[in-house]
């Protein structure tokens, strides 16, 4: 029997086992918590004006989406590899005809599938609550209007609709997913040389914090303070060492009702794929040398 150097079926088996493992670790309880937060936020603060109520709902929901995806991406990934090594499950897996890159890819895809499915569920719950809230608020405002001229109605509809449910919101969720995917690949790379789960979690969180402030760092330390080529070099080095997570921060725009175009979505996807590919290549180089 010939042995395939790469088998999608084996990767799928590993990814599915990872999803089952995380699901049975009751990680999805977080989803229920999220839904409760969204519903509560949707109907809280009725004294605010309608525009602010919808903005607040989006703000809270996107905050929860980010926390969910980043925490799962870092903690779940940091747990997987060291646990397989400690439990010696890795021995039985890698003593089968499973190349190490397939094992890593399976783990990454498993975590991403879970985050992706979680975000989809949360996006659906969030969209439903936002839509309901938008309709309720619109009905309330229209009922309170003294003169319901078509112009006045259209104006109110436009104002509320801008803060309501749009396709733009889903692009915001895509940005959250892409950022989480980059962070997950980063956590996997760190766990390939880390000595413990705690080390992976702490180091990855530190890199994520630096990654969020990369734009500020560049502006403060580099801009106009040295030769352009040195500045460019240092900037590129910073981007290699820590992912520029600011690229994915379009949530403020989405919350404020600004449109995120398909061009931005394509750019974010390209950057995310570049980082993920880079981290996976380094992960493989580290893991293939790992003494089990």
């Amino acid at each position: 029997m010939n042995h395939a150097a790469f088998s999608p079926a084996r990767v799928w088996t590993l990814a599915a086992a990872t999803v089952t493992q995380l699901v049975r670790m009751k990680i999805l309880v977080f989803l229920l918590l999220f839904c409760a937060v969204v519903v509560a936020a949707g109907f809280a603060f009725p004294v605010l004006n309608p525009e602010h109520q919808l903005k607040l709902l989006k703000d809270v929901s996107f905050g929860a989406l980010q926390i969910f995806s980043l925490v799962i991406g870092i903690v779940a990934t940091a747990l997987l590899l060291p646990r397989d090594l400690e439990d010696r499950t890795l021995y039985t897996i890698l003593s089968k005809p499973v190349p190490r890159h397939e094992y890593l890819l399976g783990k990454l895809l498993g975590v991403l599938a879970l985050i992706g499915a979680g975000l989809l569920v949360m996006d659906a719950a969030f969209s439903l609550v936002l839509w309901l809230r938008e309709k309720l608020l619109l009905a309330q405002i229209l009922a309170g209007l003294k003169a319901q001229t078509p112009e006045a109605v259209a104006q109110v509809q436009e104002l509320v609709g801008k803060q309501g449910l749009t396709w733009n919101l889903h692009l915001g969720v895509l940005a959250v997913f892409l950022k989480a995917a980059v962070v997950t690949a980063l956590a996997l790379m760190v766990s390939c040389f880390a000595s413990s789960t705690l080390f992976t979690v702490v180091v990855t969180f530190c890199i994520v914090i630096i990654g969020h402030g990369q734009g500020l760092l560049r502006e403060y330390f580099l801009q106009g303070k040295m030769e352009p080529f040195v500045e460019k070099g240092l900037s590129a080095l910073l981007a290699v060492l820590t992912p520029d997570l600011g690229v994915f921060d379009v949530i403020d725009n989405v919350v404020n009702g600004q449109v995120v175009g398909p061009g931005s979505a394509g750019y974010m996807t390209g950057i995310a794929l570049t980082y993920i590919t880079g981290y996976m290549v380094v992960s493989h180089l580290l893991f293939v040398e790992k003494e089990l």
Binding site: M1, H3, A5, S7, A9, R10, T13, L14, A17, T20, Q21, R24, M25, D87, R88, T89, Y91, T92, I93, L94, S95, K96, P97, V98, P99, E289, E291, L292
Partner: protein
């Protein structure tokens, strides 16, 4: 007439040396020093030695889990560094653990899929392996609730799932009760009957003596002795004669004959002893 094709050994270890790098400031540790061994296809080969003598390191290198510092290892002629060399290998590690969130059947399905099996064939084979290892009743129970002995048997089931030509067993009877241990011994003998090659380590020397065709004795990372079990343990200048229902007169006659012949000397007579393991099994089977 052309020479017959040389038979490819199941396992071949050539001058293997494994050095583990020391962590910051610590000296490197030499786990295996210049070890060579060959396991022929269809034989049961036992690797024995005290703890830390390099047995497990040698096995892990054969399985490609560790890279040799010097030397080479092959499985059915393929270098252990090639993933494809593990296609025909089933491995049971010492004290195996599996994903606790899966049940027994799911565990076997998971490992089967990694070996390229699938569908009804895999499901049937998994059930067959559960029956072979006596885990049928625990098939739907989460592995987290399995005892040490059950984990060992599940480990054996996953090692045999894809019908390997070589089975590598690291301390297969560790933590298993005598009856389970006996069952594993019988399984190993069964493998030999089916032409499956076995590379096994164990501390139970009596069992190793019973099942192994050849053994290698390791100490301090080196191979100290290697050869056929019967040749290694035979006392060359002595002959054993076991009689059943011999009368005292017959025994006296034999003694007299030996004295008359001269040259030979009767060293000892008496009743052969059974083993404690056999006694235990007889006693517990009587109770059942």
């Amino acid at each position: 007439m052309s020479d017959p094709q040389p038979i490819t050994p199941a396992v071949s270890v050539e001058n293997l040396t494994k050095v583990f790098r020391g962590a910051l400031g610590r000296k490197p540790f030499v786990a295996v020093r210049d070890v060579s061994l060959t396991v022929r296809e269809g034989e049961v080969y036992g690797l024995i030695g005290p703890n830390g003598c390099g047995k497990s390191t040698t096995m892990k290198t054969v399985l490609g889990l560790l890279a040799p510092t010097r030397g080479r290892t092959f499985v059915f002629g393929r270098s252990s560094t090639e993933v494809a060399s593990r296609q025909a290998v089933g491995f049971l590690p010492e004290n195996p653990y599996f994903y606790k969130h899966l049940n027994g059947l799911e565990t076997l399905l998971f490992y089967g899929r990694l070996c390229g099996l699938g569908g009804a064939e895999l499901r049937d084979r998994a059930r067959e392996m559960l029956a072979l290892t006596g885990l049928e009743d625990a098939a739907d129970r989460r592995v987290a609730g399995y005892s040490k002995g059950m984990l060992q048997r599940l480990g054996l089931a996953q090692a045999l799932l894809h019908r390997p030509r070589l089975v590598v067993l690291d301390e297969p009877t560790a933590g298993v009760d005598p009856a389970g241990s006996r069952k594993i011994r019988d399984l190993i003998l069964g493998f030999r009957g089916q032409g499956i090659t076995v590379l096994v380590t164990s501390h139970l020397l009596e069992q190793m003596q019973e099942v192994c065709d050849r053994v290698g004795i390791m100490a301090h990372g080196r191979m100290m002795r290697e050869g056929r079990v019967d040749e290694l343990i035979a006392v060359e200048n002595q002959t054993e004669l076991v009689l059943e229902d011999a009368t005292p007169e017959l025994l006296a006659e034999i003694r007299a004959l030996v004295e008359r012949q001269g040259g030979a000397r009767l060293v000892r007579t008496g009743q052969p002893r059974t083993t404690l393991e056999k006694l235990f099994l007889e006693a517990t089977e009587e109770t059942n």
